[in-house]
Symmetry: C2
Subunit: 205 residues, 2 copies
């Protein structure tokens, strides 16, 4: 079975990606404590995913998968976007719950925005880089809208304030398998899984 390194230390992401990429031996960066920290300096999700996958493939000599994802809020011109994880900056660091500080900040910023202008989508770029230099990147989206106050304890990040299209529950109120089926990351990683299968096993599946 092919070993693939997932270029993340985020426990929530690792759990999600394990469920989706279950036909491979997937390991996280916990097994590579010396792996480099890669600053996400690009202005696009795809750019950042490729940056990370390249660095981890070079470090491990193994096929590396990385994603970059975030929440794109219509009334914020698509931000927080690539800055989703650090939207509240040091103010959020000081609160001890960065996810909560980030989503509270988005709610504050939208406080005076009309209900019909609360559209948003999650976006995910998933990149694969092989030691021979082969690169692939795919993107997935989940459209929906933001609610006024967080609900639910599942998921992570902005899930508690995001209701997917066709749902009344927030993404944090969905079961993990329900979320995977419609999520930006689920879509991107299923598309990447097909590519991985073709490249690494010659289309055995």
């Amino acid at each position: 079975m092919s070993r693939i390194v997932l270029a993340t230390r985020n426990a929530g992401k690792i759990a999600e990606l394990h469920r989706i990429l279950d036909g491979f031996e997937v390991v996280g960066l916990g097994e590579y404590p010396d792996a480099p920290e890669v600053p996400e300096t690009e202005s696009t999700f795809a750019g950042n995913a490729l940056l990370k996958a390249r660095a981890i493939a070079a470090h491990t000599g193994l096929p590396a998968v990385a994603d970059d994802s975030g929440l794109c809020v219509d009334a914020l011109n698509g931000m927080p976007g690539v800055l989703s994880a650090r939207w509240s900056g040091r103010l959020g660091d000081a609160t001890g719950d960065k996810d909560r500080a980030n989503l509270d900040l988005v709610l504050d910023q939208l406080a005076d925005v009309a209900p019909d202008r609360r559209g948003a989508h999650f976006a995910c770029a998933a990149a694969l880089v092989l030691p021979d230099g082969t690169e692939r990147v795919v993107e997935g989206r989940m459209h929906g809208r933001l609610v006024d106050a967080p609900r639910g304890t599942g998921g992570f990040g902005y899930d508690p304030i995001f209701v997917p299209e066709g749902e009344t529950r927030t993404a944090a109120e969905l079961a993990p398998q329900e979320k995977d089926a419609i999520s930006h990351r689920g879509k991107a990683f299923r598309a990447l899984a097909e590519i991985i299968d073709g490249l690494l096993t010659g289309g055995r599946a």
Copy 2:
């Protein structure tokens, strides 16, 4: 001399606008303590300026001038924009220095952004609404870039982190008259002053 009401309680803005609109008897909302608070719910500076000027013209029966302005950061897709004054939300309220919390948050959000991607501009929409329903709105911009750390004690808002094109000093290091000559608000209010002069005095100036 025609009396005009400036629809703002912001001391920094009042000082700036007094200097520019010096051919008229300009009064701020301090003289109209019962004037309505107008939520800035529009998605554009022009929309918010008109909202405020309409409300104050209706309340006072006098020509009303209002502006809405903000900082538009390239790497934030033009945000904070119309949300400039409340960018840090309740996290900023808790710090006791909202201006500082707002600019610190922008600096944090740009922490990993490359030096050549720190472009930004200030934008200002200035609106005039007369009691007879006549409406005018003009816009001004000041282009420049953001520095890494605040400098200077003049101005207000994001001035300490913004260096105008052709300058090495931040907007907070410029003398008030220097800033007026190049600022978004200066440009917008000089353009509006000409319109006011034409409408209210028949082009006497």
